[in-house]
């Protein structure tokens, strides 16, 4: 309940924040705090320095860039969930945000924070994967873009370097005939709480068949992963329920599925297939 002592700085500019990270390898970045502070309260994590980026201007916006949408480092889950732009152009992410935590958590927690925390059972990372998002990481040496597919590395480990801040998640807008969806079984049942297993799908239909697909699963392994074999099976198919279910059978191909308190390996494999099918069907329905 009581964190260990630490130094706290709330810089007003990004450069200052990045310089602090350079100088303090043991520092942690604080945005919404919904992942960091519980760990600190339980003393599972005790950084020497906390760099609060909450006062840095320009990080709190959802921006329409034409072909893409940028979600700044201080955009809260609730804002992602209720953004009509994201609902229309990246529905999987809006749904994932709406099922993240509870109202209080969604009011403080940030989309970028959820990505950087890289929890194995989180909702939004898998949506970012399926949507083909780009992670924009800043450090004192500049800005680099990381494909979502390369971003989630291991248990609670992202590709961010200790001196980097995830300043933006950028998702491509759904093109013509495209749709996306996310569905999961929450740990408490229904959609509540972290995913026992879940899947996000982004698909494009043209001329009566599936012309593009991207599917990712969460909750099953050490990190959210793209289900490449599902996408492969979907593309070129007619998108019928039978085709979707056949494709969904590959949901965990190549993934080492792990048991936890909420599911056996067998169950998680099964759920990954169920939610892959459900997400793909919903995405196809949205694609029209």
């Amino acid at each position: 309940m009581y964190p260990r002592q630490f130094e706290y700085v709330a810089p007003s500019g990004l450069d200052e924040a990045l310089a602090l990270l350079d100088d303090n390898p043991g520092a942690k970045v604080l945005a919404g705090g919904m992942s960091l502070l519980p760990l600190m309260k339980m003393r599972l994590l005790s950084p020497e320095l906390v760099v609060d980026i909450g006062r840095i201007g320009g990080l709190g916006d959802i921006t329409d860039n034409g072909d893409t949408i940028s979600i700044g480092a201080l955009v809260r889950h609730a804002e992602v969930a209720s953004s009509s732009l994201i609902q229309a152009q990246g529905a999987a992410l809006a749904a994932a945000a709406s099922w993240t935590g509870d109202r209080q958590v969604r009011n403080r927690g940030t989309c970028c924070g959820s990505m950087a925390h890289a929890d194995v059972a989180a909702d939004q990372p898998v949506a970012a994967l399926a949507l083909g998002a780009t992670m924009v990481a800043a450090s004192s040496s500049g800005v680099r873009e990381i494909a979502a597919a390369d971003f989630f590395v291991d248990v609670m480990t992202s590709a961010l370097a200790p001196n980097e801040i995830l300043t933006e998640v950028r998702i491509p807008k759904a093109g013509a005939g495209a749709g996306s969806a996310y569905d999961k079984l929450g740990r408490r049942g229904g959609h509540s709480d972290y995913a026992v297993a879940g899947a996000a799908a982004s698909v494009t239909r043209s001329n009566g068949s599936v012309s593009a697909a991207s599917v990712a699963v969460t909750g099953v392994g050490v990190r959210p992963v793209l289900a490449g074999a599902v996408a492969e099976a979907l593309v070129g198919s007619d998108g019928s329920d039978a085709a979707v279910e056949a494709a969904a059978a590959h949901a965990v191909a190549g993934v080492e599925v792990l048991e936890d308190l909420y599911g056996s390996v067998e169950y998680k494999i099964h759920l990954a297939k169920v939610f892959t099918a459900r997400a793909v069907k919903a995405a196809l329905a949205a694609a029209g």
Partner: protein, 165 residues
């Protein structure tokens, strides 16, 4: 560190360690003990306060993060001795038993009704799912929020179940 903020319309300041959680600043420094601590994993919602119009867990926020913020706790809801409709609803509809989750639950309901003044049963239930209550089974809490919503819309609240029978 020095921290100052507005709490229930009053400008307050204090000297805190960076690690001091907002809930402890409220409870210990300001003696506003209506805001409670019920867990350490940000799951129970007992510490819910309103910050800049939003329901927030004061146990998952550093006091220094609230610098300059506008904080409302349960103590700040009643105006000139007049209960907030949500407080009234909890009283009229037996929305509390032990009362420990109540301040957080009330703050959650207040912000919910600010966002949607006519929520459905499902919207109420989802809206307060971040607030655990072990006494009521939520039945009368949902009724209390329905009561408050009606009041805030200027409507006559539905009768209490014990009045119907």
């Amino acid at each position: 560190m020095q921290v100052s903020m507005s709490v229930n319309g009053r400008q307050v300041s204090g000297d805190v360690e960076p690690r001091t959680l907002l809930v402890h600043f409220l409870r210990e420094d300001l003696r506003l003990t209506g805001t409670h601590v019920g867990c350490e994993t940000s799951y129970c919602g007992a510490c819910t306060v309103e910050i800049d119009g939003k329901a927030v867990l004061s146990c998952t926020m550093l006091a220094v993060q609230a610098e300059g913020a506008d904080v409302t706790t349960v103590e700040g809801l009643a105006q000139d001795g007049q209960l907030h409709p949500v407080q009234e609803g909890f009283w009229e509809r037996h929305g509390l038993q032990c009362g420990f989750c109540t301040p957080g639950m009330i703050m959650s309901a207040v912000t919910l009704l600010q966002e949607n003044d006519n929520p459905s049963e499902e919207e109420i239930r989802r809206g307060i799912e971040g607030n655990l209550c072990r006494c009521t089974g939520y039945h009368n809490i949902v009724r209390a929020v329905e009561y408050a919503g009606a009041k805030m819309r200027g409507e006559e609240p539905p009768p209490a179940e014990w009045e119907e029978s």
